[in-house]
């Protein structure tokens, strides 16, 4: 069972205080830490688990600048066998369709039975690339996958639906799945682990090598364009309490009392 996994490097934003440049076109990245997109991490782990159980080869693909090699190394250390990086030049203003185009051209010649992506990216949160890519490849797909069982020429997947229900679907191979978090327990990647894969060569390619024209990718090929970025305004009714810990507690208690929270 050969598997392709598309991964993405994203900034960590849980605890970061985001700042936007003056023109409102970009989020400032200097103070941010980067890591593999959480959903993609689960996708890589799932691919490696399937490979460990059924044999085959795992190829990871990313689209990004040179620094994104880190996420490929992480995936290799987790157990992937090969890695491809598509240089981001030309893709800077691509929307989900443009990125899917890039990935499509890079993976269509790689023989695979299963294509995995994360259900969404933690930065832009489109949740479209995986499905658009599957359409381009013309293969069956399922989104929000929380369980995979491998059969003979088919797979059965569990999809997460609303209010704690799951859907069980059988699909022919090859197929594309977008993986939901929690499907497995991604393994820890140690520096020793990364050391070990440092000699694996990462295949480099780009929009030119893939024969992609500006009409297909970039701002020209996109139907979605970013107008302006801004931080959400502090909403009505939100109040930031200041002072010592005790004072804050006192004020909080007062507010709860005022609003009738405690009788």
């Amino acid at each position: 069972m050969n598997i392709v996994v598309c991964v993405k490097q994203v900034p960590e934003v849980t605890d970061a205080e985001l700042e936007i440049n003056r023109e409102g076109t970009e989020i400032l990245k200097e103070d941010l830490e980067f890591d593999i997109n959480e959903w993609d991490n689960y996708a890589v782990e799932e691919a490696v688990l399937i490979k460990e159980a059924h044999g085959g080869k795992v190829t990871v693909v990313t689209l990004g600048d040179e620094d994104c090699e880190d996420v490929l190394r992480t995936a290799l250390a987790m157990g992937a066998d090969e890695a491809i990086r598509i240089d981001e030049q030309g893709f800077e203003f691509s929307d989900a369709a443009g990125i899917a185009q890039g990935l499509y051209h890079a993976v269509r010649d790689v023989p695979f039975d299963l294509l995995l992506t994360g259900a969404q990216g933690s930065d832009d949160g489109w949740a479209q690339v995986g499905l658009t890519l599957a359409e381009l490849l013309g293969i069956s797909y399922a989104s929000l996958v929380v369980g995979v069982e491998i059969g003979e020429g088919t797979i059965t997947v569990h999809r997460e639906l609303e209010s704690n229900t799951q859907e069980k679907v059988e699909m022919p191979l090859p197929a594309a799945l977008t993986i939901q978090t929690g499907i497995n327990n991604p393994r820890y990647v140690s520096i020793m682990g990364i050391q070990k894969v440092r000699r694996i060569e990462i295949k480099e390619t780009g929009s030119k090598e893939l024969g992609l024209s500006e009409a297909e990718i970039g701002s020209q090929g996109s139907s979605v364009a970013s107008q302006k970025l801004s931080l959400p305004p502090v909403g009505e009714g939100a109040e930031i309490l200041t002072g010592s810990l005790d004072e804050i507690c006192e004020k909080t208690a007062q507010i709860i009392r005022d609003k009738g929270g405690v009788m």
């Binding site: 605890d15 205080e17 103070d31 393994r187 520096i191 020793m192």
Partner: protein, 676 residues
């Protein structure tokens, strides 16, 4: 007639004995070979220079059993009886061979002394063995196990000595030599035989029984716990070899995680259980014991590298047999707080905490079974240089209003660099100790600064988890920063940072060319405060009438032998009474925060280690429990709440206590009390 020794008296055919002896030696050598083939698989990057210190330890710990006596005089005496009896009889037997084959010297007065000496040795051995049985089965000393092997080994040895005495008795009964009374035990036994003829008839049979048992014993040694006869001296000799640094980069995938020394330590373990007795994890009722870990590691390694693995079916059988047994669960290694109490009491210097670290590094490398909270911690450490998911910016927040120079914003650091550490910088409770320390330094007017938000983690957390690659990266970051700002003098709040900078860095630095090596000195703040008290810059005007007790942090006390410095600072404050807890100094009880336990899912049993410790503090009647480590502070502060001791006992860092004493209002009456 001159007394002399007769060998093989009435024993026929002698060649059978030699054949048996040869078989015994071959079996023995094969067993030894099996152990050595494990040892050589251990990772080794150091040459072993001859060490006089090793030899003297060998004499003191091996021959005199110094560490066995420690804390258990009965065990020490019992072991010496067995050891000296066994060794003496062994030498005696060797002398017989020399006498028979090389030079006949067992005659005359020397032979008389020799005979009497051997009798005494035999009695010592017998007494020691019987005593050991009494301790194990009648007194039922709690730390001792009662497995089949424990009984079999002693009974075997006992049979060898007793049959030896019996053979001697028969021989003396048959020979009736005039010098026989010097072999007083044998002589006394010989009196039981009235007829020399009967004795002579029985003698050869019993001789063969004794020969068979003795040779069997030799063959048996490498296959039971008696192997410590060889492994323990080796381990004692190796004990003071410097630690080896094995950079991740130089490791190959087939390298064993354990070092050759760990493997020898494992083999030296006699399962005496002293470590179990002192282990705070076992003591708190958690499902972990250092002895179980050692035995598990030893058996696994022996199975993995056994020379008989050449025969695959044997391996399969052994593996099958093993999986059907109830073994030690490797996940349990996360319980160890790396408190080092076990090493302190182990007679053969088994450094369980180091071996645990190596075993963890294996799990980390494989990545699959790393506890999930620890995975998160390590990722945070990599990304944010602290174990919490908090941006680096937050690191300097504790000192925002204190106007402390930030060395990372200067060209060259002037003065002391206060290395605050992750926990002290980020934990709300621990931050107070940093603020107190900064206050004290200002009070005594010592110029100092910090690295502000650029201060990295020293690498301790990664090191304890076995994530050596991350440790090395953080070490390089630290060394590079110290170098860039020409920092020469470092003082830490945490004993963990102190220990890492002081004891873990040097071995790695030594691998670099001299001009690239780190060049700084590190002290723990307690050492600095003591010095300030000594030179007179830190003195206390007003008395503080309070009874306190002091908790020795493992990484300050046992790891670095800093026991007196904090106590001297405490007692320098007039009016303070320092009382000791039941466990103090080298014997201190871990608070449970070390070994990365604070950054993991709950490992506690019903009672927490810190709760056990705080109860000890309570029992002293002290009003304040002082400690000198941010982790101890957090753990004990928590325990104080969970045990509802909030109103009886305060928990303070030494810095906070000193600041409190320095800030006392001058009360005239108090002064006069002191003058009186």
């Amino acid at each position: 007639m001159t007394p002399f020794r007769t060998s093989y008296w009435h024993i026929e055919p002698v060649w059978v004995f030699y054949l048996l002896a040869a078989v015994a030696v071959v079996v023995f050598l094969f067993g030894l070979f099996a152990h050595v083939s494990v040892w050589v698989r251990g990772i080794r990057r150091q040459t072993l220079p001859f060490s006089w210190r090793g030899i003297s330890n060998l004499f003191l710990d091996g021959f005199l059993g110094r560490r066995i006596f420690k804390g258990d005089i009965a065990a020490g005496t019992m072991h010496l009886l067995i050891l000296w009896g066994f060794l003496g009889l062994f030498v005696g037997t060797v002398l017989i061979s020399v006498d028979y084959w090389v030079y006949h010297f067992l005659k005359g007065a020397f032979y008389i002394w020799y005979s009497a000496g051997l009798e005494i040795l035999g009695l010592m051995l017998t007494a020691g063995l019987i005593w050991s049985l009494i301790r194990r089965y009648l007194q039922r000393v709690p730390r001792l196990e009662r497995r089949f092997e424990d009984l079999a080994v002693v009974v075997f040895l006992l049979l060898v000595v007793l049959s030896g005495f019996a053979v001697e008795g028969l021989r003396l009964a048959a020979q009736r030599q005039e010098w026989a009374r010097w072999s007083f035990v044998g002589h006394w036994l010989s009196l039981l035989w009235v007829h020399p003829q009967g004795a002579l008839a029985a003698y050869p049979y019993l001789w063969w029984v004794h020969a068979f048992l003795s040779l069997g014993l030799i063959a048996f040694i490498p296959y039971c716990k008696l192997f410590h006869i060889l492994a323990a001296p080796t381990s004692i000799y190796l004990e003071n070899q410097p630690p080896q640094a094995i950079p991740v980069e130089t490791r190959s995938p087939d390298d064993e995680v354990f070092s050759y020394r760990d493997m020898i330590f494992f083999d030296a373990c006699t399962r005496c259980g002293r470590c179990v007795e002192v282990c705070p994890s076992t003591g708190a009722g958690e499902p972990f014991s250092p002895r179980d870990f050692i035995v598990w590691a030893r058996e696994n390694l022996l199975r993995k590298y056994h020379p008989l693995n050449y025969f695959t079916w044997l391996t399969r059988w052994a593996n099958h047999r093993h999986t059907s047994e109830q073994g030690f669960d490797p996940q349990k290694i996360w319980h160890c707080t790396t408190c080092r109490a076990c090493l302190d009491v182990c007679p053969v210097y088994v450094a369980t905490q180091d071996a645990i670290r190596q075993a963890r590094s294996k799990i980390i490398e494989e990545g699959i079974q790393v506890p999930s909270l620890l995975t998160q911690t390590l990722k945070n450490l990599y990304k944010y240089d602290n174990p919490w998911e908090a941006t680096k910016k937050k690191r300097a927040q504790w000192s925002q209003d204190l106007e402390i120079p930030d060395f990372s914003e200067t060209e060259e650091a002037e003065g002391l660099c206060y290395f605050v550490g992750c926990t002290t910088s980020m934990d709300i409770r621990a931050q107070k100790l940093a603020r107190s320390f900064a206050w004290i330094l200002k009070h005594v007017q010592i110029p100092f600064g910090t690295l502000g938000k650029r201060e990295p983690c020293c690498g301790d957390i990664a090191r304890r988890a076995g994530e050596d690659g991350l440790f090395e990266k953080q070490m390089e970051d630290c060394v590079e920063l110290f170098d860039r700002y020409r920092i020469r003098e470092v003082v830490t709040s945490s004993p963990h940072c102190f220990n890492t900078l002081q004891n873990e860095y040097p071995a790695f630095q030594a691998l670099k060319p001299p001009e690239e090596q780190a060049n700084f000195q590190v002290r723990h703040y307690t050492q600095l405060l003591r010095e300030l008290v000594k030179v007179g810059s830190l003195w206390f005007e007003n008395p503080l009438h309070v009874t306190v007790t002091y908790h020795d942090p493992c990484y300050l006390g046992r790891y670095n032998q800093v026991f007196d410095a904090p106590r001297e600072v405490i007692t320098a404050i007039p009016g303070v009474t320092l009382v000791e807890m039941a466990h103090n100094r080298a014997n201190s009880l871990c608070c449970g925060g070390g070994g990365d336990r604070v950054w993991q899912e709950n490992l506690d049993a019903d009672v927490k280690m810190a709760e056990i410790r705080i109860r000890e503090a309570e029992a002293t009647g002290a009003e304040i429990l002082i400690t000198a480590c941010p982790l101890c502070l957090i753990m004990l502060e928590d325990a104080r709440k969970t045990t509802s001791l909030e109103h009886t006992l305060q928990v303070m860092d030494l810095n906070e206590f000193v600041q409190m004493a320095l800030s006392l209002e001058h009360i005239p009456g108090e002064q006069s009390v002191r003058r009186r």
